[in-house]
């Protein structure tokens, strides 16, 4: 039997000839003016793509969380108590493509370095409060009818039972500059807080009552992602490093007072995806740069300490999503050849608590990320959110529990 690793001139010839024949039949026409027009066009939508990408990621985790919750026969959505450490059990689905890996070692951590300092004094945050969301309601960002090619989005309350919009909260955000970046709930579920990109390097945080009884209130400027501290007493604001050249997280007291500012060491900058999120006991920050994992910080503002996990350089993490203090990300290219299997990893704080192989075929069949074969989560151009294989909402691009 022929060993395919041996030199095989016939194979080489067949491959080369096929490629040359195919390429030779392709006669593309250059159009330089089109390049310039595209450049001008793209300049106006710098914020849109990362915003949409970040939004889609959140859907992934939320859908998985809902599925896990249903799998436990516990009606309603995931509990959102600050000390809640339950993480989505994605393998509670009947997927045959994921095999739980019980041998995940804790990620080693070191002191993160960086500096804590007193930031500016903050006035009490204006957080309009409404009636708490019901257990089967989530705050979400959904696409809105628009003739504009960039589209518009609404912030709404969505039913996880029916997928219907229960009530709109804020309608018609223009997405030319990115639109709504991230959406979170206060721990008491009475206020929806979201970040809104207003141009390439300007953004703001707004808040609205969950029952629609208030107009949006501007809470802060310049934020890519936000998270409430576990006790709800502080709002952590990731200022975003792309435009300011540093990773700065402000810890703003909701009741007003001195802001605590954490600035990471310079090597933490240059991220393409990052988020700040609430852990069970602290605030976490994770970042990647073109898929390569950057430092993952666990910042304890109460103790003014920061720990960092520097990820394995061979891994590539994308599709960051978080809820209930855990982050899920898609890990690919895990072996030296770059052709290794893909995994869905879960981090609790800085520890990798779960790493589950994902069938590559699943990922390729799904536009952005896939969790199982039966379609428990399907994200295509249609952006459908499904629970137990049932579509509960379409065109949902971001959901917060």
């Amino acid at each position: 039997m022929t060993d395919p690793r041996d030199p095989d001139p016939r194979l080489d010839e067949l491959v080369s000839a096929s490629l040359h024949d195919e390429a030779g039949g392709h006669h593309p026409e250059p159009d330089w003016d089109d390049v310039r027009q595209r450049s001008d066009h793209a300049r106006r939508r710098l914020w849109q793509l990362p915003a949409l990408a970040a939004a889609l990621l959140v859907v992934a985790l939320v859908a998985a969380a809902i599925i896990a919750d249903r799998g436990d026969d516990d009606a309603g959505v995931i509990a959102d108590e600050p000390d809640q450490t339950t993480q989505p059990d994605i393998t509670s689905t009947t997927s045959t493509s994921m095999v739980p890996d019980s041998t995940v070692a804790p990620t080693p951590t070191t002191d993160a370095g960086g500096t804590f300092s007193d930031g500016p004094m903050a006035d009490p945050l204006q957080l309009p409060a409404g009636a708490p969301l019901a257990d089967d309601e989530v705050a979400a960002v959904v696409s809105a009818p628009s003739e504009d090619e960039f589209g518009r989005v609404d912030v709404v309350v969505l039913s996880t039972t029916t997928g219907e919009v229960v009530r709109p909260l804020v309608e018609g955000f223009d997405t030319v500059e990115g639109g709504v970046f991230q959406i979170v709930l206060t721990p008491d579920r009475r206020t929806v807080v979201y970040t809104l990109a207003t141009s390439a390097c300007t953004s703001r945080v707004e808040a609205v009552a969950t029952d629609g009884s208030s107009d949006p209130v501007v809470v802060a400027d310049l934020a890519t992602t936000v998270a409430f501290s576990p006790d709800g007493g502080h709002l952590a604001i990731d200022r975003g490093d792309e435009c300011i050249g540093a990773v700065i997280i402000d810890f703003v007291p909701v009741a007003g007072g001195p802001t605590i500012r954490y600035e990471a060491p310079p090597q933490a900058t240059g991220t393409t995806e990052s988020m700040v999120f609430a852990g069970p006991r602290s605030v976490n920050y994770i970042s990647t740069s073109n898929g390569v994992p950057g430092p993952s910080y666990l910042v304890d503002f109460a103790e003014s300490t920061a720990r960092v996990s520097v990820a394995d350089g061979n891994r590539r993490l994308t599709h960051l999503a978080s809820t209930n203090g855990t982050v899920t990300a898609l890990e690919t290219c895990c072996d030296e050849s770059g052709s290794g299997s893909a995994s869905l990893i879960t981090l609790d704080g800085l520890e990798v608590t779960d790493r589950r192989p994902v069938d590559v075929a699943d990922i390729r069949l799904i536009a952005f990320i896939g969790f199982d074969r039966r379609g428990a989560l399907v994200m295509t151009d249609r952006h459908a959110l499904t629970v137990d294989g049932r579509v509960v909402a379409e065109d949902v691009i971001q959901v917060a529990l």
């Binding site: 491959v15 390429a23 593309p28 595209r38 052709s339």
Partner: protein
């Protein structure tokens, strides 16, 4: 009003020159990789639009080809993934098939054989596919492929080996 040559920055003139020098090769490379000529041509346009907007940092400022090739391959891949059709799309082989005698004589392999070969190549993992395209279509050396894809020569070698193993098995009936 069209700008005069003096008004166009040197950088843009260089970029336009690169565009005209490499457009055809890059569009063909993209088409071979993703199996869709229009997507490939779009990818090339977008890559140059990105460079027009923000010049990349090139390892060799005088040689943009490694960057351009990688950028086109990556963009084709991303586009197909976004479409959700990346792995389901069947390769369109010579949609404008020319059936004249001259064309038949020009081609070294039959259309059906070519389709099977290209389908097999497109079914490879991305990195293996890229290595095969750069090696067998552009004729790059291992070190040039490594430079283009930003990986080590050893990784190129192992990816090529795995690709050849797969192709040898899949294409055995054709040989």
């Amino acid at each position: 009003m069209m700008p005069t040559m003096e008004q166009i920055p040197e950088r843009q003139r260089t970029l336009e020159s690169w565009y005209h020098d490499h457009f055809v090769e890059l569009a063909r490379l993209g088409a071979l990789a993703c199996g869709d000529r229009s997507v490939a041509e779009d990818a090339v346009q977008d890559v140059f639009a990105g460079m027009y907007r923000k010049p990349p940092v090139l390892r060799d400022p005088g040689n943009p080809l490694p960057y351009l090739r990688t950028a086109v391959l990556n963009r084709c891949r991303s586009t197909m993934r976004r479409r959700g059709t990346g792995e389901r799309a069947t390769l369109r082989v010579v949609a404008d098939t020319d059936t004249t005698t001259e064309h038949v004589e020009r081609d070294a392999v039959s259309t059906s054989t070519r389709a099977e070969v290209l389908t097999a190549i497109r079914a490879l993992p991305y990195r293996q596919r890229d290595v095969i395209l750069l090696r067998h279509w552009l004729g790059l050396s291992e070190s040039e492929i490594a430079d283009t894809l930003g990986i080590s020569p050893g990784t190129v070698k192992s990816a090529a080996s795995r690709a050849r193993t797969t192709l040898a098995t899949v294409l055995e009936p054709l040989r």
